[in-house]
């Protein structure tokens, strides 16, 4: 008798009707968006802090580079000694004092630059000051050596290397980023999905054990049917939740940006300016066009199909292991020792994916790891945007599917024995014995 649809349906309905599941489904995007809003707000708050910096410039040549900007204002002190200036700044409770000491040697304009403050200035601020002064000093030196600065400015060039395959497909650096983005997102999505919903499967099996209903169920259905039903039902619930998250999250983000549009766009002013400038610049406009082109050039169908196959395969592989762990223990605290061997290859996959695929998507390491079944779903998903030969994809999936059949068999063995075992936490040795029962 095939009860798989019945079990799957119950598992699914039970999950999606669960109050905490419903609350999490609708609250999580809200929390995420709220979190983003808070971060945005706080960073704005931080930027709002007014800073006043006094500058004591002994050379008298650098004063014109300190322009008031955003919340930072400058005042130039003249005709005072450092000691007096320090006292003055401290008594006025200004943010700090920048002291530029004049050099005795004629070729070096300054000898020493110090910033006095009781506050802790950010690294960004200090390096900003450094950049300003460096640039001015170089200009001054060049001028002193009789070089026309406007000529240098005119000679500066920006280049972009155009990439093209021998068959004539144009690509660019952007293309690489896009591919990396796609692959990374797919791999990471799978990783998150396994962690969240694998745990859910495990918990639901433990629950079945602790509520002791298992013996009644097992007298009606085969353990493997029950296990598969639980895995499929929970996965469907997971996909439902994930979809709602994505939809709700994007809607909320949209609402957020329209309501708080002004404050957000204010924050984005510098970037937007760049974008606007870029749009006017014909070169960058070309670049954008190429980006669209390279998006269309991605092996999209391959990507979608492979994503489905590897996502499902990878998730089933890991979830069967989670199910086995759930069956082996009595309560969640006992799961720790069995979780490590499951999580490790998963984390390894993500790291291999991030570090080697970026470096060389078809290098030995990434190729090998895209065949090892425990890492292949993540690594292969990351590699596919860069174009992986079909035979490799198929071979990798066949290995994955074969391993999946094996892990389900293995998990079912543990499951069959484990679900009726209560009391003590089993050791690995005992698990091995269970497989032989």
């Amino acid at each position: 008798m095939n009860h798989l649809p019945l079990i799957t349906k119950r598992e699914y309905l039970n999950k999606v009707r669960n109050k905490s599941f419903i609350i999490m489904t609708f609250l999580s995007p809200l929390i995420m968006v709220a979190l983003v809003a808070v971060v945005v707000y706080l960073s704005q708050l931080n930027n709002d802090k007014e800073r006043h910096i006094s500058v004591l410039d002994e050379t008298g040549m650098l004063s014109d580079i300190f322009e008031d900007k955003d919340q930072t204002t400058y005042s130039i002190l003249t005709g005072t000694s450092l000691e007096i200036a320090k006292e003055l700044v401290e008594s006025k409770e200004e943010f700090g004092l920048l002291h530029i000491q004049k050099s005795d040697e004629s070729e070096n304009v300054v000898s020493n630059i110090s910033f006095y403050t009781n506050d802790s200035p950010s690294i960004g601020m200090i390096s900003g000051l450094e950049r300003k002064i460096e640039k001015k000093l170089s200009d001054i030196k060049l001028k002193n050596d009789g070089v026309d600065i406007s000529m240098i400015k005119a000679a500066e060039t920006n280049i972009t290397i155009m990439q093209e395959t021998f068959s004539g497909e144009k690509t660019s650096k952007l293309d690489g980023y896009l591919k990396l983005g796609f692959g990374g997102a797919a791999g990471y999505l799978l990783f998150m999905f396994i962690i969240i919903y694998g745990n859910m499967i495990m918990r639901s099996i433990i629950e079945e054990k602790t509520s002791r209903i298992i013996e009644v169920i097992i007298s009606s259905v085969k353990p493997i049917q029950l296990m598969l039903g639980k895995i499929i039902g929970t996965s469907l619930a997971g996909i439902t939740q994930f979809t709602i998250w994505v939809v709700l999250g994007s809607v909320l983000m949209l609402v957020m940006t329209t309501i708080f549009g002004i404050s957000l766009s204010e924050l984005q002013t510098p970037q937007q300016e760049i974008v606007n400038q870029a749009m006017q610049n014909p070169d960058v406009a070309n670049e954008m066009q190429r980006a669209v082109q390279s998006f269309l050039n991605l092996p999209l169908i391959n990507l979608v199909v492979a994503f489905l196959f590897f996502f499902v395969g990878g998730f089933l592989l890991y979830s069967s292991l989670y199910a086995a762990v759930g069956a082996a223990v009595d309560n969640e605290t006992d799961t720790q020792q069995f979780m490590m061997p499951i999580i490790m290859p998963l984390i390894l996959a993500v790291y291999v994916g991030i570090f080697t695929v970026i470096d060389d998507p078809h290098g030995t390491v990434s190729t090998v790891f895209s065949f090892i079944p425990f890492t292949s779903p993540v690594v292969m998903l990351m590699r596919i945007p860069f174009g992986v030969p079909l035979w490799q994809q198929i071979l990798s999936f066949v290995i994955l599917a074969g391993t999946f059949v094996f892990t389900v068999w293995f998990a079912a063995k543990i499951y069959r024995v484990g679900i009726l075992m209560y009391g003590k936490k089993p050791s690995y040795k005992e698990l091995y014995k269970w497989i032989k029962y």
Partner: protein, 308 residues
């Protein structure tokens, strides 16, 4: 074929632990069969094998003359000792689900459930969650779920635990009614008074071996010790007592009776005739009480387990 369930030389090992050793039982159709044994004897293992939860290492099991197959689960109703239902699921939904797992259609299951809910007067529980019910109430649901699909073979593991006397009685009557309706019942319990009351056949499993089985009356006959409870009335208690003690093996007796002067258990040898004893007694005193001591299931259980 008079036996509904036959287990033939069933053995089961868990690793090096021997849970069942060459156990054979035959459960006659329409009987209430008591499966007895101390804790850890192997009863649950045997029940799980019958339910096809675990497979025997060797030996075969037949249901109604056929080799036990997965399809047979719809002919078996099993109430495990470890009760459990999905706590957060509603009563009606859960009962429907479990009935469907036993191969019933949804409509049929709903009809049967309405019948049982009316019968036990619990119609208003349909939309309650199990966690809102008391333990005894949940047990009732579990009982209904066990018998709902009208199985030929019912297996009850400690069915009365968790019930108050009134509900225990209710369930007992239902079990007897199910037997009337043609079901065969395997009944595993430690409560010997319910064995006396319900079972007509028993099997006793001890340390993985079957040590005793058969009709309860036959077993009692085998275990009777030829002992008679005797209550006499006389003026000369001492002399009468001594006269009996000279002729027979005598043990102290503690039965309830009205003003008996002498209360004794008298054990006869195998070749002795109770009539001779009675004649002897009537010659000495007035006989008010003369009953053969029939061993209780409890006595048989303890004695058999101790001897093995």
């Amino acid at each position: 074929m008079n036996n509904l369930l036959v287990a033939d030389s069933v053995s089961k090992h868990y690793g090096s632990f021997r849970a069942l050793n060459d156990v054979s039982i035959a459960v006659p159709k329409g009987s209430i069969f008591g499966l007895l044994g101390p804790n850890g004897a192997g009863k649950t293992t045997l029940i799980r094998i019958v339910n096809q939860i675990t497979m025997p290492d060797t030996g075969r099991v037949f249901l109604d003359g056929e080799n036990l197959r997965p399809e047979h689960i719809k002919n078996i109703g099993y109430l495990p000792e470890e009760r459990g239902l999905y706590k957060s699921m509603k009563v009606g939904e859960q009962a429907l689900y479990l009935a469907q797992l036993k191969g019933m259609t949804k409509q049929d299951a709903r009809k049967r459930l309405n019948y049982w809910f009316d019968k036990l007067d619990i119609g208003d529980w349909w939309n309650k969650k199990i966690q809102e019910l008391s333990k005894g109430q949940a047990q009732k649901i579990q009982f209904i779920v066990t018998v709902l699909h009208r199985p030929k073979l019912l297996i009850f593991d400690e069915p009365f635990s968790g019930f108050d006397p009134i509900n225990a009685n209710l369930i007992k009557d239902e079990i007897l009614q199910l037997r009337e309706d043609g079901a065969t019942v395997i009944f595993s319990t430690h409560r010997m008074e319910s064995v006396e009351e319900l079972c007509d056949h028993i099997a006793l499993i001890h340390k993985s071996n079957k040590v005793l089985d058969g009709k309860l009356t036959d077993i009692k006959r085998q275990h009777k010790t030829n002992t008679f409870e005797v209550g006499l009335q006389t003026d000369t208690i001492d002399s009468v007592t001594n006269a009996i003690k000279e002729k027979f093996k005598v043990l102290p007796a503690t039965f309830k009776n009205l003003n008996d002067d002498v209360k004794l258990n008298i054990k006869l040898d195998a070749h002795d005739n109770p009539n001779d004893l009675l004649r002897f007694l009537t010659s000495k005193a007035e006989v008010h009480h003369f009953v053969e001591v029939i061993p209780s299931a409890n006595d048989i259980f303890i004695q058999t387990v101790k001897n093995n």
